[in-house]
């Protein structure tokens, strides 16, 4: 009950309602609230910051145009994930094919263990390169499930797939990612 009152109060007085009335400062507050979700998800899916910024900009412009509908549904996150993934999918399809794990060159790393001696930059490099080893659908499923922490059901809704399909994509993606990491650190099973 208390949650319902909070939701109603937000609908009337929250940044969403004020943004709907044309208050740009309120819309900026909404962006701040959700910007990490959008930009970082786009960055993981696309692999470069400039494209991720372009997608983020478009996502927020679409949010502004659809504020009534999104606020009525009262689920910003689901809407933002779905639109971000769709826009990244469109851009990614035009720009960059996936790279097979076998085709990823072995990289010389000074570390024997992924958890030791890795700089932040190197961790980012391993993450982005391992994501490139996945197909677009596998990448989307893994980013939403394992990195963003959505449930399988939420991932399926965001991707417009069945839960069974998502589970299959996630398991394949995890195995490919593990293969990449093994290869990166030259540790073959």
């Amino acid at each position: 009950m208390a949650q319902a009152f909070i939701t109603m109060a937000q609908a009337v007085d929250g940044p969403g309602a004020r943004a709907r009335a044309g208050d740009l400062a309120a819309f900026e507050a909404l962006m701040r609230q959700h910007e990490r979700l959008v930009l970082v998800t786009a960055l993981r899916l696309l692999g470069n910051m400039e494209d991720a910024k372009d997608v983020s900009q478009e996502v927020f412009l679409r949010l502004y145009r659809n504020l009534d509908r999104v606020e009525a549904a009262n689920n910003y996150q689901a809407w933002l994930y779905r639109v971000t993934v769709n826009l990244c999918h469109d851009i990614g399809r035009k720009r960059r094919p996936s790279v097979a794990v076998e085709d990823v060159p072995e990289l010389v790393s000074g570390a024997d263990d992924p958890h030791q001696s890795l700089t932040g930059a190197e961790r980012q490099r391993v993450l982005q390169m391992s994501l490139r080893a996945l197909s677009a659908k596998e990448r989307e499923a893994l980013v939403l499930r394992d990195l963003e922490g959505l449930s399988t059901e939420e991932v399926a809704r965001a991707l417009g797939s069945s839960e069974a399909t998502v589970r299959s994509q996630i398991s394949k993606a995890r195995v490919k990612m593990r293969d990449f990491v093994e290869r990166y650190f030259r540790r073959r099973v």
Binding site: R36, V40, Q57, H115, L131, D146, R174, V175, R178
Partner: protein
């Protein structure tokens, strides 16, 4: 069942995506299979690595740049409030059109005579030849004032009884 068939379930198990009964079956197999133990530890290790990398903060300047670009686009566009204000004004204008009486007009249909050649069936609008001067003088132009949300913008709708 060979180990390839276990791979998908072990991968799901590594991320906590199996129901308790399935998870128990995987644990049973892994306990007896060194190859699958290596697979599971590799899966857990790579998952931990990418999650750690993903959690690292992104420079605030990137977020600020996106916000600035979005706000710049929105600042130049008509605001949502204005869009609705114009829709309200348009609706008011429609109401006015429906309410204001149309000028008195006499409509006569051309009726063909029995022996006369058939005239084209066209309706003709005939204005009264001698309009009542008293009535004409007594009808000043009608002015409708439409208020918008912005006090600086007022829309006037001006008409007269002749419909001019």
């Amino acid at each position: 069942m060979n180990c390839v068939a276990w791979e998908e379930r072990i991968a799901l198990y590594a991320g906590g995506d199996l129901a308790p009964a399935e998870a128990q079956a995987v644990e049973g197999h892994v306990a007896e299979c060194s190859g699958c133990q290596l697979l599971l530890s590799g899966l857990r290790e790579s998952l931990a690595l990418v999650r750690e990398a993903h959690a690292e903060p992104v420079e605030a300047a990137h977020f600020a740049a996106v916000r600035a670009r979005v706000l710049a686009k929105l600042d130049g566009a008509p605001t949502r409030r204005w869009r609705f204000a114009w829709m309200g004004a348009l609706a008011a204008a429609v109401v006015v059109l429906a309410v204001v009486p149309w000028p008195q007009r006499e409509l006569r249909m051309a009726v063909p005579m029995p022996n006369a050649p058939a005239a084209p069936a066209v309706a003709r609008t005939v204005l009264p030849s001698h309009p009542n001067p008293v009535e004409q003088a007594a009808a000043p132009p009608m002015v409708v004032k439409l208020l918008t949300d912005d006090p600086n913008v007022v829309i006037y709708w001006i008409t007269d009884t002749k419909g001019e």
